[in-house]
């Protein structure tokens, strides 16, 4: 069982918050594109990233709250809520890109990873993300667009982050992979903006 020290928890929170912010940016740009083109799939994509971002912020808030108030119930609720929100977001990606213990004082010092990961929800997320990744791969194969490549890399890294999350000692790696996934999307946004 992997245990996280306070500095590692802080690291995880920062990575999660940065990823959530990038997801929010992608959601904003998708919404802008929707308003411009009236293509409903862009609205679904925007909602997907918004839900994903909300889930990430929810988890950050849940962990902070738990660390401060030592309330494991809130942590449990936020982790399950995040898991469901991710699944909802990934389902929206599949649709839109179709062609996604009571008081434990020592937890302030060491937070057990199983508290941060719901394995059943992770497995469901993996199955849905495999579809999203395959769709983005097919899209890249047919368009050969470098922007499509960034999206494929982003979704692939997101999938790998879920695999890492369910592996022993893989939680920190999963957070880094998740951040890299959103950075790939951020690079894509930046390059599109410079077109």
């Amino acid at each position: 069982m992997q245990a996280l020290s306070p500095s590692q928890i802080a690291f995880v929170l920062i990575l999660e918050a940065v990823s959530g912010t990038i997801a929010l940016l992608v959601s904003h740009y998708s919404n802008k594109a929707y308003r411009f083109t009236q293509q409903k799939k862009l609205a679904d994509l925007s909602t997907g990233f918004l839900v994903l971002s909300a889930g990430m912020y929810g988890r950050v808030i849940g962990i902070i709250y738990t660390v401060i108030f030592l309330d494991l119930e809130v942590l449990g609720i936020s982790i399950i809520a995040t898991g469901f929100m991710r699944i909802m977001a990934y389902i929206l990606f599949v649709i839109s890109t179709r062609h996604t213990v009571k008081s434990v004082p020592e937890m302030v010092l060491f937070m057990q990873v199983p508290l941060l990961v719901d394995f059943n929800l992770e497995l469901i997320a993996i199955v849905i993300l495999i579809i999203v990744v395959l769709q983005s791969l097919m899209n890249y194969a047919s368009t050969r667009s470098r922007y499509g490549l960034y999206v494929f890399i982003g979704f692939l890294l997101l999938l790998l982050s879920h695999f890492a999350a369910v592996m022993n000692n893989g939680y920190l790696i999963s957070q880094v992979l998740q951040l890299l996934a959103f950075l790939a999307l951020l690079v894509m946004l930046y390059k599109v903006g410079r077109e």
């Binding site: 740009y29 998708s30 802008k32 594109a33 411009f36 083109t37 009236q38 293509q39 799939k41 862009l42 994509l45 839109s96 890109t97 179709r98 062609h99 769709q135 983005s136 097919m138 899209n139 047919s142 368009t143 050969r144 667009s145 922007y147 499509g148 960034y150 999206v151 894509m188 946004l189 599109v192 903006g193 077109e195």
Partner: protein, 97 residues
């Protein structure tokens, strides 16, 4: 590999027309050129050209039926730039606009 496009949204038709106009540079493009390059029927062409002029995206100049020339306004060029960004973004996710 080119993808077969069974349906073009109105937004894409307008963008295709504006691309046809832009490809002719500062001199502007005549209706026939736009009709062929944007692959439109005459009725559709007339309807959409009126709309583009009305929205001040395209400027109509010249006189007489055969002498009409269309060029992009600054607003039109900005619209086209924005469309290209949205198109690249959407295509990256496999969404056609």
């Amino acid at each position: 590999m080119s993808r077969r496009r069974a349906y073009r949204s109105k937004m894409r038709i307008l963008a295709d027309m504006m691309r046809a106009i832009q490809s002719e540079g500062e001199e502007g493009a005549g209706p026939t050129k736009i009709l062929y390059q944007a692959n439109l029927s005459h009725d559709r062409l007339t309807q959409y050209l009126e709309e583009l002029v009305e929205k001040e995206l395209v400027l109509e100049s010249g006189d007489g039926e055969s002498g009409r020339v269309y060029s992009l306004t600054e607003k039109g060029r900005e619209f086209l730039r924005e469309f290209v960004k949205m198109e690249k973004f959407s295509e990256a996710f496999g969404i056609e606009i």
